[in-house]
Each structure stands twice: as C-alpha cells, then as structure tokens.
C-alpha cells in the first residue's frame, strides 16, 4: 500500500490537543512490547497512532495504514529520548514526507538517541537521584521523606525530558538532529558525572554509618569504632578490586557471594 506523498510544509501541521495528550501519555508505555527482534518498533507505532488518525482518510485510509506500518518496524533508542523521534516522525507523517526519507531518519536516529540517553539518564540522572536519596538516608531522614524525595526529583527530570523530547521532535521534524547538539545535552552528562562523584563521596560514608547503625541498632560505641574503619577499608579494597576486574565480573554477583558465605558461617557456627 502506498499513499500519495503530500508536499512538506515549513509550518508544523495541525494536530489536535487530544491527540497530543494521547501520544504523550502512551510514551510511558513505549517499551511495553520490547523484544529482541523489533525492539522499540511496535512501541513507537503504539505511541504515534493517535496522531496518525488525523492523516487524510482517517484511521481507515491508506495514508494511516502505510504510516502505522512504517512506524511499527524495527527501532531502538533510549526510552525517554525516543520521544524526540516520536515527535519528529509524527510531524513527518502528517506532512506527508516520502517513505524513504522517513525510513532513513529512523535508521539514523537509533544510535544518537540511544547513546545520549544512556549517558544522560542511566549513567547520570538516575545515579544522581539515587545518591541524593542515600544522602537523605544517611542523614536519618524518615522513609517517607526518602521515597518522596527520590521519586519527586527523579520524575521531575524524567517527565520534563519526555515533554521536551516530543516538543523538540515536533518542532524540528526530520531536522531535529541539530537540537541534539545543544550544549546542555552535550555537556550535561559531564556535569552530572562530576556531581555524581561528589555525591558518592559524600553519601556513601553516611549511608555505611547508618547501615552499621551507631544509634539505630544500639551497637556499643567501642564496637562501632572498630566496625566502621574496618568496613571502610573492606569497601575500598573491594571497590578497587571490582574496578580493576574485567567488566563481566559484576559487583552484585560478588555481593551475593559475600553474603552467602556470611549466612553459611553464621548458621554453621
């Protein structure tokens, strides 16, 4: 099925608010059908679908069917920054851009949206928010405060990034790649990395102290004075070992082994 290509326009085509809201809401489930074959592809189609209904001929027309078929094909990106691609693709479809141009755009956007999102969110914003929560934990904040602080902070960034992404994609259309070169996006991961390192240095000793529990578990102070330095030394040695070991030796496996040994010793004594 091939619909007639319409002339691209300089001004963004009209899109109803109900469609905009539906596209934005569906983006929270963009990875709902994630799989190793088409990856994010069906999710992109699922998110774009409410907007595609406004193509000439409506949801029964050939333009809708062609566009939906295109948008459900293989695609991969960071789930939050996929919003940029969704905004751009919806606009391109509504403008009636040639199918080949849209396919090229989809192929070209996978890499940049994946790597930028991984650096910005998974290696930057998420550890930053986790460390803020651990800092609050170390400073003896209540469980409710810790949970609200973490979820509020993280999701302020998360929702803002999705909203920025879909708006930027919609405004830029197939030329949106230029927006990804903005200084904030390019330098953001560097700034976040420094903040994460500072926060790690600050939060981890406080969190260790609370877990060992000088006050909370009423451990005698002489025990605590021995336990804390020894724990710090063990942590530094193990961390150095984990950094130097090949990447496939994952820390959570090492922690699992350490705890298994501790449990066995404890019940066998």
């Amino acid at each position: 099925m091939t619909g007639p290509d319409r002339a691209p326009t300089a001004i963004a085509p009209a899109l109803s608010w109900s469609a905009r809201i539906a596209v934005f809401t569906r983006m929270f489930a963009v990875q709902g059908s994630w799989n190793y074959e088409t990856m994010l592809g069906p999710g992109i189609g699922f998110c774009a679908e409410p907007a595609l209904r406004e193509l000439p001929g409506g949801p029964d027309g050939p333009a809708y069917k062609d566009a939906l078929a295109r948008e459900t094909r293989y695609f991969n990106a960071h789930p939050y920054l996929a919003a940029v691609a969704i905004g751009a693709l919806v606009r391109a479809e509504l403008e009636g851009r040639p199918a080949a141009q849209i396919e090229r755009f989809r192929t070209a956007m996978c890499g940049p949206l994946g790597s930028l999102g991984d650096r910005l969110v998974w290696a930057g914003w998420l550890p930053f928010c986790s460390l803020v929560a651990l800092l609050a934990f170390g400073l003896r904040a209540s469980p409710l405060v810790i949970v609200i602080l973490f979820l509020g902070l993280y999701n302020a960034g998360h929702v803002a990034l999705r909203a920025w992404g879909v708006n930027t994609g919609w405004r830029g259309g197939l030329r949106v790649a230029a927006s990804l070169g903005s200084p904030l996006l390019q330098r953001g991961p560097q700034y976040l990395a420094r903040a994460v390192l500072f926060l790690a240095g600050l939060a981890l000793p406080l969190a260790i102290a609370r877990v060992i529990g000088r006050r909370g578990l009423e451990i005698p102070s002489h025990d605590w004075r021995i336990a804390l330095p020894l724990a710090a030394l063990f942590a530094i040695v193990l961390a150095a070992l984990l950094v130097r070991l090949p990447a496939r030796v994952e820390g959570w496996r090492a922690a699992l082994v350490v705890l298994a040994v501790l449990i066995l010793i404890s019940i066998a004594r």
């Binding site: 489930a29 799989n35 990856m39 939906l68 903040a195 406080l206 909370g216 705890l259």
Partner: protein, 228 residues
C-alpha cells in the same frame, strides 16, 4: 512472618513494581530504595524495609538498564527483600542481611524471567508482523496490551514464588543466626558501598577532575560521619 493470605497484596504490588522496570511507566518506583521500603511497610516494619532498600540501592547502582543487555530485575525483587527483612516486627540480627541476600538472588531470577518474556514478546511480534505491515491498528494495540499484561503477570509470579520459597528459609536462618550485628552489618555495608563506589567510578571517571570531586565529597562525608 508472612502468611499465605498476604501473598495477594504482595503479588499485586510486585506486579506493578516489576512492570515499572521496563514496560510501564519507568518512573523508578522499581528502584530498591522505593520498592524495598514499600515491601517493609506492607510486611509491618518500614524501618527494616528502608534499611534493606538503601543497601540494595547501592548494589543496584551498578545496573545500567541498557537496551538489549540482560540485567537483574530490581522491582519485584526489592519488594520481596524488604518484605523478608521486615517480616518480624522486632528487627532480629541477620534480618537485613537476609533481606538483601534475598533481594539480590530474586533480582537475578527476575532478570532471567524478563529475558524469557522478551523472547516471548519477540514471538508474538513476529506473529503480528503481517497484520502490522498491513497497518492494522488492532494488531498494534493487541501486541502492546498482551506484552504489558504478560509483564505484570511475570512480576506477580516472581514475587509470589520468591516469597513462598524464601519465607521458611528466612525463619530457619534467623533462628540459627550467630554473627553479631556490628560485624554482619559492617560486612553488608562495606560490600554494598564497594559495589556502588566501583560502579560510579567506572561510569563517571572520564569527567575532568573526577578524582578531586570524589575526594572532596568523601572528605565532607567522613567529617559528617564523625561529627554527627
């Protein structure tokens, strides 16, 4: 102790937290600091839950949920860990150790279940391909809803099985626990902090002046520990 009647609320919450990891809405409700705290609260001991959650959060900082990689599923696992740690109203020695151990072990199993589900999603997507290539709205919606439902079910099952398996083991281990609190919690905290520290250094050491930022934070952190 967690009774069999409590399995339903735990499984329902586990389903939501497990789905949050990838499928919907990725709002990080599934992070251990949140999920384990909820698990502890639901079991009746929120203090044990948040303690378990903080330790698991440190361990989970290593996990980057990047695309096709296989990684532990922390959502339902942390709920189970928090629930196991908080399953006794009075925090017994070893309770947090068990909670964290159960959390990590369940996350490992949960990761495998997520891998299996993604394979199954692939089979369903392949079957739906001809209809999707014909531009069928119904095929797209059915695939999305089927996969989302399957993920909810997966996480609910992981939560229920983990609680059924670990609850009696937890009771047995706690009844025979001998290592003191200071020693066991020191080992636990050190192992978790090592994983977190190592992971953060691996991810962020490329930034200019990285070691100075880490050092400045550490000096301030140690001073706060001493004076607090």
């Amino acid at each position: 102790m967690i009774a069999a009647a409590q399995l339903l609320p735990f499984s329902l919450l586990g389903a939501l937290l497990g789905a949050d990891v990838v499928s919907f809405p990725q709002a990080m409700l599934s992070r251990p600091i949140v999920a384990a705290t909820l698990g502890g609260a639901l079991a009746g001991n929120v203090a044990a839950g948040v303690l378990t959650g903080a330790v698991l959060e440190m361990v989970a900082m290593e996990t980057l949920p990047v695309g096709a990689s296989r990684y532990p599923e922390w959502g339902s696992a942390s709920l189970v860990g928090g629930a196991i740690a908080g399953s006794h109203l009075v925090m017994r020695p070893g309770a947090i150790i068990l909670g964290v151990f159960v959390g990590i072990a369940t996350a490992w199993a949960g990761g495998w279940s997520m891998y299996a589900l993604r394979r199954l999603n692939g089979v369903w997507a392949e079957r739906a391909l001809p209809a999707m290539e014909a531009g069928s709205r119904r095929a797209v919606m059915t695939l999305q809803i089927r996969c989302l439902t399957a993920d909810l079910l997966r996480a609910a099952i992981v939560t229920a099985i983990a609680l059924l398996v670990w609850t009696p083991i937890n009771d047995y281990v706690l009844a025979h626990w001998t290592v003191g609190r200071a020693a066991s919690h020191s080992i636990l905290a050190a192992a978790a902090a090592a994983v977190a520290g190592g992971a953060i250094w691996r991810q962020s050491h490329g930034a200019a002046g990285s070691k100075w930022y880490l050092l400045a934070g550490a000096v301030l952190g140690v001073v706060l520990v001493i004076v607090a």
